[in-house]
């Protein structure tokens, strides 16, 4: 599977995603600079964490207008896989590739900690190697990770089985304990937790690999 990791000014988890995909999982991976207009032969795009454009105006609000994000939107429309982590999730929401928004944590403080997540469905290219109800231990690190959407949107997400991950102990006030959702066509995934930080046992756990392995499995069985 050919991965591409976006780089915006202010991205800071790009190195980590690149490291896990290339060194840990042995997959071909390259960076995509935000000024690039095309994605080349990339099959799965990673929109990494960080503070793109300094989070000015609003998290993710400026990044969505970059040339690379236009290419990502086209890639998503064509059915290509996109995973947005943390700031990447915020950008995907701002770009309307995913519904809802991420606002200040309920406690108003930045939170960096390991959290437990419940896999709500295995029916996605991002969770197919998990069991529904399975608990994953993966870190979060965000100040604006409180997921918000109108009740009608939440009902729609639930009805269509698009909530992929929920917090077991909601750390940030997210509506319906939402930690990660996908789009209608199930090829775009956004989540606040960082699976790239939980892909090696020496760093405290490798539950994040279930997400990457799901993507590889989806690709192999596409």
């Amino acid at each position: 599977m050919k991965f591409g990791v976006l780089q915006f000014p202010g991205s800071n988890c790009d190195q980590d995603a690149y490291h896990v995909l290339g060194q840990v999982l042995g997959q071909p991976v390259r960076y995509i600079w935000h000024k690039e207009h095309t994605l080349g032969d990339v099959e799965c795009v990673v929109v990494p964490g960080g503070f793109s454009y300094g989070d000015y105006l609003r998290t993710g609000a400026i990044a969505r207008f970059s040339p690379a994000m236009k290419a990502v939107a086209a890639h998503a429309r064509a059915g290509g896989l996109v995973i947005g982590i943390c700031n990447g999730f915020q950008i995907l929401c701002e770009a309307h590739l995913l519904p809802g928004a991420l606002i200040r944590n309920r406690g108003l403080q930045f939170i960096c900690d390991w959290v437990r997540l419940r896999v709500e469905t295995a029916d996605s290219p991002f969770t197919n190697r998990c069991r529904p109800g399975q608990i994953l231990r993966i870190p979060i690190a965000h100040g604006e990770g409180c997921y918000f959407a109108e009740p009608a949107v939440i009902r729609q997400l639930e009805r269509t089985d698009r909530i992929l991950l929920r917090y077991v102990d909601n750390p940030n006030g997210s509506v319906a304990d939402i930690a990660g959702i996908c789009n209608e066509t199930r090829n775009v995934f956004g989540l606040m937790p960082h699976p790239e930080r939980a892909s090696e046992t020496i760093l405290g756990g490798d539950d994040g690999r279930r997400i990457w392995e799901s993507i590889l499995h989806a690709s192999a069985h596409a």
Partner: protein, 733 residues
């Protein structure tokens, strides 16, 4: 332009003798701009004029030292295979007292620039913080909580945005820091030996390039501000506190590293930190033995009508000065453009040794660069010993169980999770031991493309910061020694071989002989320990004038120590691992209560003789601990420090939230045995079959859901709650 009256000169902190020295250097009267330039360069912050003779006592040499203390913006230490570590600690105490969020944030920004200026990629930050007490309903406590919250949020804001993990540090609370908190920020980076850059303006005719934020009036003369006592009026100094923009710093970091790693583009580089444009121009010229000429009309400015004085003394953040290779300016500019930055050529290197500042064609300052940078006056201040504070031991407590809970709730001892949960301590995917053990352990992935070198494999380093300022108050010599020994002990407990030190010397006004005596004795103690352990000092920072309206702070010579872990299997954490393991004390139990947290917290006593440190004995215990770790005998190792053996045992039981462990141990039941802070003690555990191979006192066994010491017992869940939630509960007020 106002005349240079004695009053104007005095307000610049320049003494009449110093003014005569300036006139001698110039051969004439200085103008106001020149006076301002001298005043910031000859402040303690930039010149070390009061501390330099004392700093010379530190050992600075070692065959693994690549860049020595005082040579450059940060020291550099060889870690093998062509790789090296650049690291340094620096204070931002006064700005943080006046504006905690921005003061602390820009403290992080400044120290990170010192690291990437060397060409190193910053891979971790730490910090050492001191505040007045945060408990209770007093106005002082409320202020301290506000300062504490603001400082932590500022550090988090800046470091998190940069994507550099803040992997640890220390926080102490004591009345002496009321109104004068300490914020010491540390950064560390990885670099190839051949990537090291110098702050030198070499090559006559080479262009001087300014890049980063535009210059404003913020932070005007912050270095001079930092070299004065805080007074009731200090809040009027708010413009002396800079405002940080971590996004700009992130762009500068990436762009400057890219420029520096393109062969042949950069001749020299220095950040504009304290004393801004003044310091970066005269220091780079002084180091190279050249002159430098700049035109202020070309300096990007964010405000109109700024005078040469203001531009030269501004401490606006996120600015860098590069000396580029002549003829390759366009390549430099192309890289800056990629990062949406704009480099401006503001001057050139000259051959006359003069720092010449112009506005268009008019010369506004002309000073010999070397004399300005290196010929600051040096003062040998008077020292007067402070008599010891005798201790009358209070009666034994009636309820030892409650004393332990009270100590675990003491904000100085309690878990700092309220702090480090706000720091992104995992970004860069290298944090192996997160905050909450004796030292932070970080894996350095040498294959990362952003290191600018196709490396192989990994390196593992450990880092810690330590200083018990109560010991330093009661006996500055022993206190200085002990700070180094504790850092050394924390590193060996983590499985690391200690290498080198950076220090942040926080003291009161050196003109007061008692304060100067404390500075001298702390340095002498720390220097002796550094020499004994073979861990030279590679640089650091001196912060004097730390006085609130009430009094000077307790002397606080913070020690940051770097260690190298030769094999990841040696990485060891402090918490108990398995039921049935044997608990062994390395070192002697001791019975010293002087200077203890127990006396301070339970009896409101800051008195007595702090624990004595026998360096030979310390080294023997530390070496043994590291040897057992390397032999694979030890499952956990924890240093005994504040709160004594009882607190250390409790921490071993409760500091891993995923697996609390009980323990049953035998100890004499008295305050000195339980809560005394004798030095050179480490609590280790091992499997029963390994116990015979470890020279130490068997204390007991791991197991159950209680900590039992003789007839005393505590449910571990209760200990955990007291220790884990204490600071969060105080801050929820």
């Amino acid at each position: 332009m106002p005349a240079l009256t004695p009053d104007v000169i005095a307000r610049h902190g320049i003494t009449p003798e110093e003014y005569d020295r300036i006139k001698k250097i110039l051969g004439r009267e200085p103008n106001l701009t020149e006076l301002g330039i001298f005043s910031v360069m000859w402040s303690e912050h930039c010149s070390y004029k009061n501390s330099r003779p004392e700093l010379k006592k530190f050992p600075r040499d070692g065959d693994f030292i690549l860049v020595k203390a005082g040579e450059e913006n940060a020291g550099i230490v060889d870690i093998g295979d062509g790789w090296a570590i650049a690291f340094k600690i620096e204070s931002h105490n006064h700005p943080s007292a006046v504006e905690p969020f921005q003061g602390a944030a820009t403290g992080v920004g400044g120290i990170v620039r010192d690291i990437f200026t060397m060409g190193a990629r910053p891979i971790l930050n730490m910090n050492s913080l001191r505040f007045g007490p945060i408990e209770g309903r007093s106005a002082a406590a409320a202020t301290n909580r506000k300062l504490f919250a603001g400082v932590v949020a500022g550090i988090a804001h800046y470091g998190n945005c940069l994507g550099i993990p803040t992997v640890g540090g220390e926080v102490y609370f004591d009345e002496s820091y009321n109104g004068n908190p300490l914020v010491n920020a540390l950064s560390l980076g990885i670099i190839r030996h051949d990537q090291i850059k110098r702050g030198k303006a070499e090559g006559i005719g080479n262009p001087v390039i300014y890049v980063g934020s535009a210059t404003g009036r913020d932070g005007l003369a912050g270095a001079a501000f930092a070299s004065r006592e805080l007074t009731e009026e200090s809040h009027a100094d708010r413009p002396a506190v800079q405002v940080g923009d971590p996004f700009m710093e992130k762009l500068l970091l990436e762009a400057c590293l890219e420029v520096m790693r393109t062969p042949g583009l950069v001749v020299g580089i220095q950040d504009m930190g304290a004393a801004g444009l003044t310091c970066s121009t005269c220091e780079t010229a002084s180091r190279a033995g050249t002159g430098i000429e700049i035109d202020l009309a070309k300096v990007p400015q964010r405000e109109t009508g700024m005078s040469p004085y203001e531009i030269m003394l501004s401490e606006s953040q996120e600015r860098m000065l590069l000396i580029a290779q002549k003829g390759r300016e366009q390549e430099v500019e192309a890289i800056f453009n990629k990062w949406d930055l704009h480099g401006v050529t503001i001057g050139r290197v000259t051959d006359d040794g003069i720092m010449r500042v112009k506005v268009g064609r008019q010369t506004v300052a002309e000073i010999p660069a070397r004399k300005l940078a290196d010929d600051a006056p040096v003062y040998h201040r008077a020292a007067r010993p402070i008599p010891p504070r005798p201790l009358t031991l209070p009666p034994e407590p009636k309820d030892y169980e409650n004393v332990l809970l009270e100590l675990l709730k003491s904000p100085t001892i309690a878990s700092k999770n309220w702090v480090y949960r706000q720091y992104d301590h995992m970004v860069q995917a290298g944090t192996v031991v997160a905050p909450g053990s004796d030292a932070a352990v970080v894996r350095i992935n040498l294959q990362r493309p952003d290191l600018g070198y196709a490396g192989a494999g990994e390196k593992y380093i450990a880092f810690t910061t330590d200083c018990n300022s109560t010991y330093c108050l009661l006996d500055p010599y022993e206190g200085g020694k002990t700070a180094v020994a504790e850092a050394h002990r924390n590193l060996v407990c983590s499985g690391a071989r200690p290498l080198a030190v950076t220090d942040n010397l926080n003291f009161g006004n050196p003109h007061k002989p008692e304060n100067f005596w404390q500075l001298r004795r702390c340095i002498e103690g720390a220097a002796e320990a550094c020499a004994f352990f073979g861990t030279p000092v590679t640089g650091g920072n001196v912060s004097l004038y730390n006085e609130s309206p009430a009094a000077a702070i307790d002397p606080t010579p913070t020690i940051g120590m770097l260690g190298l872990i030769d094999d990841p299997r040696h990485i060891t954490t402090q918490w108990f691992k398995d039921d049935g393991d044997v608990i062994i004390l390395l070192g002697e139990l001791g019975a010293e209560l002087g200077g203890s947290e127990y006396l301070k917290r339970i009896h409101r006593l800051k008195a007595g003789t702090p624990p004595r440190l026998d360096l030979a004995k310390a080294k023997q215990i530390h070496d043994a601990c590291l040897r057992y770790i390397r032999q694979g005998l030890i499952k956990s190792a924890h240093d005994c420090s504040e709160g004594g053996v009882a607190v250390a045992l409790a921490e071993c039981c409760i500091s891993n939230g995923d697996a609390l462990r009980g323990a049953t141990v035998k100890l004499p039941i008295n305050a000195a045995a339980l809560f005394g802070e004798s030095q050179s003690r480490i609590i280790v555990t091992c499997a029963p079959e390994a116990a015979g191979q470890i020279a130490g006192t068997v204390l007991g066994k791991v197991g159950g859901d209680q900590l039992r010491i003789g007839k005393l017992a505590w449910p571990v869940a209760r200990l955990r709650d007291a220790w884990w939630n204490a600071i969060g509960r105080l801050m929820a007020h």
